[in-house]
Amino acid sequence: MNSLRSLGARALSASLLAAAMTCAHAKTPDDQLIIGVSMNNLLTLDPASATGNNVVEIACNVYDYLVELDANDPTRLLPGLAQEWTIAPDGRRISFKLRSEARFHSGNPVTAEDAAWSFRRVLKLNLAMASPWKSYGFTAKNIDQLIRATDAATLVIDLPQPTDPKIVLYTLGTSVSAVILDRKTVLEHDKNGDMGAAWLTTHAAGSGPFVLDEWRAKEVLIMSRYTRYWREPPKMRRVIMRHMTESQSLRLMLTRGDLDMATGLSVPDIEALKRNPEIDVHSVKRGTLYYVAVSAKDPKFADKRVREAVLRKLVDFDGINKSVMPYYGVYHQRPVPLGLTATLPEPGYQFDVVAARKLLADAGMPNGFKTTIRVVAESPFTNIATNLQSTLAKAGIDASILPGTGNQVYGAMRERNFEIIVGRGGGGAEPHPHSSLRALVYNPDNRDAAKLTNFQGWRTSFSDPELNQLIEGGLTQRDEKKQTELYVEAQRAFDADVPAIQPVSQMVDTVVLRKDILNYVGHPSVTTRLREVSKQR
């Protein structure tokens, strides 16, 4: 039956390729960029509440940030609306000088007061995107004193607690909550003191290279060139993002030339498109990690030996990364993403049934046990889960897979109501070890009542005071060498402690685009800017 299915899939694949080769090409307009993308997770455009990657890709083209991160070297900061910035010797104050020529789409000048108001708004609304700012100690109460405009062009940010200012700058260059809003325009749409939240759900008030024309949820988003942009105006007159979820439909449209770019294609479709001479495939590493996690609250997994058996000996890291993860992720086992100075070489955990059986026997479970794996019902999560199910079975662990939506799976994790989970997360937008360590490992209060649901460390019920201290120490250490040492030590402690979460792969985002698209540079922090993109026709 499987071979029949496989034959059918190959036949379909071959015929699609044949179609691709024989069909007459339609062409998208020369001055418009047409992108096919799944916008399933795009629920709002409000920078204070919008989560997920979709909105970052839009926000960085409609709004400006104070600073930008170089797409080729994300640790390098580039000027944005701020033409220069200085960090006080004690590291507790960052001052920005804003450029005077920038104008919002409304024609209003961009001022430091707009910038201060934009940040205050995020904290005062206390919605999803307040999270990074709260982690640096900002609150709705202290924000007015800590972030302020000293004149029309000078913005001052005082850090409420000792924090490496680098990571704050990285957040300012990557988080959607750091975009600068046109205060006057937003306040014109204030409704019952909501600071324009209802209006900003479907509108934008920025100064970026593109103006948001229209967003119809799960249908289309249209942006057009902002001709008065303070940099050179974008090459493309319009950018149209079409909501499309079917990989084969995307593939057909790309090959026919009805789309310029697409994301979210399946591996067989990407493989097939790679053979098309008119198509390019770009993959960009993100800081996010795919992981397998267990609940240390569960008596089975409270035992370090069982965690080691399940998370380090019974995960087929090589097999998963070779067969499941191409175009989704690359081999990585550390809680700190690849490409950072502090990242240690891979520890080389290997699938080893004999060692796993021994560990389980030592823990008093020589015959394994029954358990469940919660997983989001989409690729590559389900593929990782089925692979894990089969390798666990080799050591006598009978795991049932419980597929669900992201809401159901991560909802259960937030409630600490799971045994094993295959997931993705861990911050990583900021190119700083703290970003991932904080999201994946840090857990300052392991009590149920603490409800630190934003920390995956808390969700897995694992807490190690020494590891927490190292993570906290790294964040406050300004000497780069010492800071690196602390993060190296934290990774070694992670090795030794066997926490309840184990990275399997580092996320890769793959974009397929037609060869005549020039200057597209995918950004590791998702802030992919389209202002330089053009077509060679």
């Binding site: 015929s15 699609l16 179609a19 691709a20 024989t22 069909c23 007459a24 339609a26 998208t28 307009p29 418009q32 047409i34 399933n40 629920l43 709002t44 509440s49 989560t51 997920g52 206390n126 919605l127 999803a128 999270s131 709260k134 209802a198 759900t201 479907t202 024309d213 229209e214 119809r216 949820a217 799960k218 249908e219 289309v220 249209i222 149209i240 079409r242 909501h243 499309m244 979820t245 079917e246 084969q248 439909s249 057909l252 449209m253 090959t255 026919r256 009805d258 669900g404 939506t405 992201g406 809401n407 159901q408 991560y410 909802g411 997360g425 999201a439 409800k451 630190l452 649901t453 934003n454």
Partner: protein
């Protein structure tokens, strides 16, 4: 105290036809409202026990507790369920369906946008399905047990059992990728997107109204393939039902009498037998149409069609109860309206029901 003049005892009065109709209409209206209320209550309760958390959909998986609690409160989820339902009904009676989490727009606005897209698709599909299904069903009935009957059965079986998703993909491959006859995904070519301001939301109609014939042509090219595939699916059902209705009529004595009288076979079939199945057929077509309105989700997914089926499914997966309740109300109303319409048509076509 003077005695009032006694009125002579009168015979019990029979209600006039007008008041009888009024009473019947009142009863029907009451039963419709009760049905819709029951449907809403059931959907509301199911929505509350579903393992989906609308708060999490809004705040994302990494939000902290205080943000979560704040949104939980803003959505009114901290109130008792009965109170929540009461507030919902109160707003509903004022025409306020609430805002959709999915789009940030009022649900009524969303429905006004997605429903016409599906109505356009489903209407064309039902026309295709009926125009093909009815003659095929009649033909099969008149060739019972013969090759023609088997051929129609085979076509119906294939139309009904082939996954519509697969048909959609194959249709795109052949008619869009190979031949270039169909218009690909979406309702219109990207270049025409947003050129015609929606009046009815039916793009074919709106573009014709303002004389945008290029947009009309593009929209027609885009809608034909998904409509034909959906129509093929309906055709299978309609043809099987037509065959079955026709067979029951063709075995009646009046058909025998008509044949004995020497009427041409065509007249016997179309004027006598077919005319008598019209009422049942209308019900079937109406229900098939209703099914298309809410069940076109797979074809909408394959063809990137921003319609009602996709909207309902996405809302459901998100736990977006305002959107789900609004959509369910629309589906319920459509089915009730179609039932009422089919009852009314019974009265038009079948004189016995007028008694």
């Amino acid at each position: 105290m003077s005695a009032l003049p006694q009125s002579p005892p009168s015979a019990p009065r029979r209600p006039s036809p007008g008041s009888r109709h009024l009473r019947l209409a009142g009863q029907r209206l009451f039963s419709v409202l009760l049905t819709l209320l029951g449907l809403l209550l059931l959907t509301f309760l199911i929505g509350r026990v579903m393992p989906l958390d609308p708060v999490l959909s809004i705040v994302g998986p990494d939000a902290d507790r205080s943000t979560y609690q704040q949104v939980y409160h803003q959505l009114g989820l901290d109130r008792p369920i009965v109170v929540q339902f009461g507030y919902y009904l109160r707003d509903l009676l004022q025409g306020d369906f609430g805002n959709a989490l999915l789009t940030g727009h009022p649900v009524t606005e969303d429905l006004a946008r997605v429903l016409p897209a599906t109505i356009e698709l489903a209407t064309l599909a039902i026309i295709v399905g009926t125009l093909l299904g009815v003659p095929l069903g009649v033909y099969a009935a008149t060739r019972r047990g013969r090759l023609g009957d088997h051929a129609v059965r085979l076509i119906s079986l294939m139309g009904h059992s082939t996954p519509i998703f697969w048909l959609g993909m194959m249709g795109l491959l052949v008619f869009y990728a190979w031949l270039g006859w169909a218009g690909g995904l979406g309702r219109v070519d990207f270049a025409y997107d947003g050129l015609v301001k929606p009046v009815t939301g039916l793009l074919l109609f709106d573009s014709a109204l303002v004389g945008e014939w290029a947009v009309f042509g593009s929209a027609l090219k885009h809608v034909m393939l998904p409509a034909c595939i959906l129509g093929l699916h309906s055709m299978a059902y309609i043809s099987r039902m037509t065959r079955s209705f026709m067979l029951s009529q063709l075995s009646q004595e009046y058909i025998l009498t008509a044949r004995v009288k020497g009427l041409p076979e065509r007249t016997v079939i179309w004027r006598h037998a077919f005319r008598n199945i019209l009422v049942q057929l209308l019900t079937i077509v109406a229900l098939a149409y209703g099914g298309l309105l809410e069940g076109a989700v797979l074809i909408e997914t394959v063809f990137g069609w921003p319609g009602f089926g996709s909207y309902l499914t996405s809302s459901l997966l998100l736990g977006d109860m305002n959107a789900v309740m609004g959509s369910v109300l629309v589906v319920g109303t459509v089915f009730v309206a179609l039932n009422l319409l089919s009852d009314a048509l019974y009265q038009v076509f079948d004189p016995r029901t007028r008694q």
